[in-house]
């Protein structure tokens, strides 16, 4: 048997006292699509960074075609034929496609002038080689995320053509774009490229992968067939069988907390791509978890942010009531006074102060309560932090480290714990488990259900249908800013999807 295209044996990597990789063996064959799975912190990013030359291993060996190699920097890895496509695509949005493809290796005319027509011609040829019709003269900023992904692949392949490492390439793609991306990946594999495909989405694995390596705690937890049952993959991922991801539903709900009746949000100025709530009627009662479903652009996020006063400028019309009393929800302060808290879908961008300690982030929403007369009370702060750590199993159990150093799941727990500290009566959640691993998801669901049992009302928007169906008591479907259907939790996915798309089930 011939040596694999790329292999790693006994890879160890330490960061200070943390051992990110504890002896990992991994191999990739030519023409293979090899899925690399693992929860956050399992070590898959570290492994990827070793292979792409970002880090050098402390122990272990990397081999290409059976011959040992060392990469001191990404350039050396590229020279050996390994290309990496990171989640943040390294494209310059303000330049056109051709300029991006040739960035740093521009084609020149004699005399030092850029040969733009030649670059565009060559770019077109390369794009067409994977059957992609993108005009090379278009600005990257004007492309969809899916198209950008493909441009990044073409760019990567133009300087390294044997191994392609893709870090969660489908995270931001629509279903159609994912399909197209998979076609391209299959085509590349058929031409002999080895592809390492890193993903959180278990359901994609059987569709695209030839082989699956699951990592856990810096080790390889198992190598399996892509068609292994999902339960088996989950067991490898979390190290224990995942009996019940979703907690049991509530038996009964209390009195109405938030009620909207034919409520519309009139924007001060129209904004393309921002779907304002239009004639929405819905109710969230005490102790109830209500889901907001809808396709992209149906106005889920917009409804939540308009309720919390963080959306665009405008005002509510129709009936908006909290506790059956009409309220004017026109600012963050108004919402907070009404007992409403909000967790954004963008915890790094607008949820957390990443460089600041976990403790300081946690107390941010109760800062008034812990600073009588304007002076911070260390005792009250410590009490609040202890309470949060008691409610959410935030790891590591150290409130003094920068929150940015935590895994996605733990960061999300911090954002939630922060808002819970403020004792809200109604919690608005936007994509509460985006980028969160399976274990932390289950924990977050359980905690939300427990909070609801204590009377908290929760309105949760999510693009993950199984999450809405599993977690929520009721699901309200939005289309073009309007509520078009309502189902009880546990409804089947197709019914909800049909309503979201405006079809009969």
């Amino acid at each position: 048997m011939s040596a694999p295209l790329l292999s790693v044996t006994g890879a160890v990597k330490r960061f200070g006292g943390v051992q990110a990789l504890r002896g990992v063996d991994f191999d990739l064959k030519a023409g293979e699509i090899h899925a690399l799975l693992g929860e956050n912190g399992a070590g898959k990013s570290t492994l990827m960074n070793l292979l792409s030359g970002v880090y050098t291993p402390d122990e272990g060996e990397t081999l290409i075609d059976g011959k040992p190699v060392t990469f001191n920097n990404p350039r050396e890895a590229q020279a050996a034929g390994i290309a990496t496509i990171f989640q943040e695509l390294d494209l310059v949005p303000s330049l056109d496609v051709a300029a991006n493809l040739f960035l740093g290796r521009e084609l020149m005319r004699p005399g030092g002038m850029l040969d733009v027509p030649a670059m565009r011609r060559e770019a077109k040829r390369r794009l067409e080689a994977i059957e992609l019709a993108i005009d090379p003269a278009r600005l990257v900023a004007d492309l969809s995320i899916g198209q950008r992904q493909v441009v990044a692949i073409v760019k990567a392949l133009s300087y390294a053509s044997r191994v392609l490492i893709m870090d969660e390439p489908t995270a931001a793609l629509t279903v159609g774009e994912v399909e197209r991306l998979f076609e391209i990946m299959r085509k590349l594999a058929a031409s002999g490229v080895g592809i390492i495909y890193i993903s959180h989405r278990l359901e994609e694995v059987p569709e695209i992968a030839d082989r699956v390596t699951v990592m856990r705690d810096g080790r390889v937890a198992g190598i399996t067939e892509p068609h292994a049952p999902q339960a088996e993959l989950v067991r490898l991922l979390v190290g224990r069988p995942l009996d019940e991801l979703y907690p049991e539903r509530a038996r009964s709900a209390g009195k109405a907390l938030l009620s909207l009746r034919d409520a519309s949000f009139r924007l001060a100025r129209e904004s393309a791509g921002w779907q304002p709530p239009t004639g929405v009627s819905l109710e969230v009662r005490e102790g109830e978890i209500v889901g907001l479903a809808g396709i992209m652009g149906a106005g889920r996020t917009e409804l939540l942010s308009a309720l919390y006063g963080t959306g665009l400028a405008g005002r509510w019309q129709g009936e908006v009531a909290v506790d059956d009393k009409p309220v004017r929800l026109d600012s963050i302060n108004a919402a907070r006074r009404a007992g409403i808290a909000f967790v954004t879908d963008d915890r790094r961008g607008s949820g957390l102060m990443l460089r600041m300690a976990v403790s300081l982030n946690l107390v941010m929403s109760v800062i008034r309560r812990i600073s009588p007369a304007g002076l911070m009370s260390p005792r009250r702060q410590a009490e609040a932090v202890t309470r949060s750590f008691g409610q959410f199993d935030i790891r590591p159990k150290n409130p003094d480290i920068a929150v940015g150093a935590l895994s996605g799941g733990n960061q999300q727990k911090v954002v939630l714990a922060k808002e819970i500290l403020g004792n809200p009566r109604l919690l608005l959640l936007d994509e509460p488990t985006r980028g969160v691993d399976v274990g932390a998801k289950g924990e977050i669901y359980a905690r939300l259900r427990a909070l609801a049992a204590q009377g908290l009302g929760i309105l949760v928007a999510s693009s993950e249908m199984p999450e809405l169906i599993g977690l929520c008591d009721r699901i309200v479907v939005l289309r073009r800013g309007r509520n078009v259907a309502e189902f009880n939790g546990g409804v089947d996915e197709h019914t909800v999807l049909a309503a979201a798309n405006g079809r009969e089930a």
Partner: protein, 353 residues
């Protein structure tokens, strides 16, 4: 594990740079105390390289030390204010010009205006605050970069100072009666406690102490970190972001006015053209002190140490008759070193390149 006791640092001077319990990153410690370490190193270097006279180390001569801390007190006061602004991820370029304006207004109010000492000082401090409030309001109201707004503020303050002074030095003469400043004002140029501690330095230290308390123990101080740490997150948490931003520019305005009053008292004149480049010295002291230009992290103690370190460094070089050109290069090297250390720590924390 789950019932493990959770300890909370009461007052982390540098929120977020604290390393996880038992695996402390030595580099992070170095950066946290970089300006103090730098100050110690500069002091040691000062002793080693100091010229000696009759066996006495001139660097350690009490007069020399008094000179160092006196010389840095004006930029130090400004750097204290600047620390607030930089922690919010802002910048204030107008400080040196406001110092000049304040020295001019101080002198002309007392000399040509016939105002008393207390009304003059109060008026100048209020002027500084108003100047900052205007800059902060313009910046937040119209969503302009503070860099641009305070660059305009710099020009405006210099212009106003030239108008007030008619581009003349306004000399301050002391005595009783109209056109004379009360003699007590001259105390700003003197030393207390057996002629050892410069009054300007006392002002600096008191201001630094108050600022440290405000930053570390008040709700407002926490808001300052929050706004710089993540403005959107702060807003969503109900932090009055615009108020905080306007306030930090009010603080730099106040600090610049205070430094301008000290300046007038030390040199016995007001001049529209004084304080040029102070904004850069102050920013350098803040950055060397470990405060991040990205916002959200920084410490007042660091700024004070950074300020004194820069002064001590200049002093050693002067004692050895090394040219100002070399001084500039040395300062440049230290700024780069401080910035590189911070960047390394950021990278280790996995928070961007």
């Amino acid at each position: 594990m789950s019932d493990q006791k959770i300890s909370v640092a009461a007052n982390p001077a540098v929120p977020g740079t604290a390393a996880p319990g038992h695996r402390v990153d030595p580099l992070a410690i170095v950066v946290r105390f970089q300006s103090l370490i730098g100050l110690v190193l500069v002091a040691i270097g000062g002793v080693i390289f100091s010229p000696r006279r009759h066996g006495e180390i001139l660097f350690l001569n009490p007069d020399n030390i008094a000179n160092i801390v006196r010389a840095v007190s004006e930029t130090g006061i400004i750097a204290i204010g600047m620390t607030f602004v930089i922690i919010t991820a802002g910048i204030d370029l107008s400080v040196g010009a406001v110092l000049g304006l304040s020295s001019v207004v101080t002198a002309s109010m007392m000399i040509s205006g016939g105002f008393g000492l207390i009304p003059t000082i109060l008026a100048v401090l209020v002027m500084g605050i108003v100047f900052g409030v205007v800059q902060g309001t313009i910046s937040t109201r119209f969503r302009l970069e503070p860099f641009i707004v305070t660059l305009a503020g710099l020009q405006a303050a210099r212009g106003l100072a030239l108008i007030v002074s008619g581009n003349q030095y306004i000399n301050i003469s002391y005595g009783d009666g109209p056109g004379l400043a009360p003699p007590v004002f001259a105390v700003l140029g003197e030393r207390l406690f057996d002629n050892t501690v410069p009054v300007a330095t006392i002002v600096f230290i008191i201001f630094a102490a108050i600022a440290t308390l405000v930053l570390n123990t008040t709700r407002f101080g926490r808001y300052v970190y929050a706004v710089g740490g993540n403005e959107r997150a702060a807003r969503i948490s109900g932090v009055p972001v615009s108020m905080v931003k306007i306030s930090v520019y009010a603080i730099t305005g106040f600090a610049s006015a205070l430094a301008g009053i000290v300046h007038a008292g030390q040199f016995n004149f007001g001049s529209a053209n004084d304080g040029v480049g102070y904004e850069l010295t102050a920013i350098a002291a803040v950055v060397i002190g470990g405060t991040s230009l990205f916002g959200g992290a920084g410490s007042m103690v660091g700024t004070v140490a950074g300020t004194i370190m820069l002064g001590a460094l200049a002093n050693i070089l002067q004692l050895n008759n090394i040219t100002p050109a070399t001084q500039l290069l040395a300062t440049a090297a230290i700024i780069v070193l401080a910035a590189v250390l911070q960047s390394l720590v950021r990278r280790r924390e996995g928070l961007g390149r």
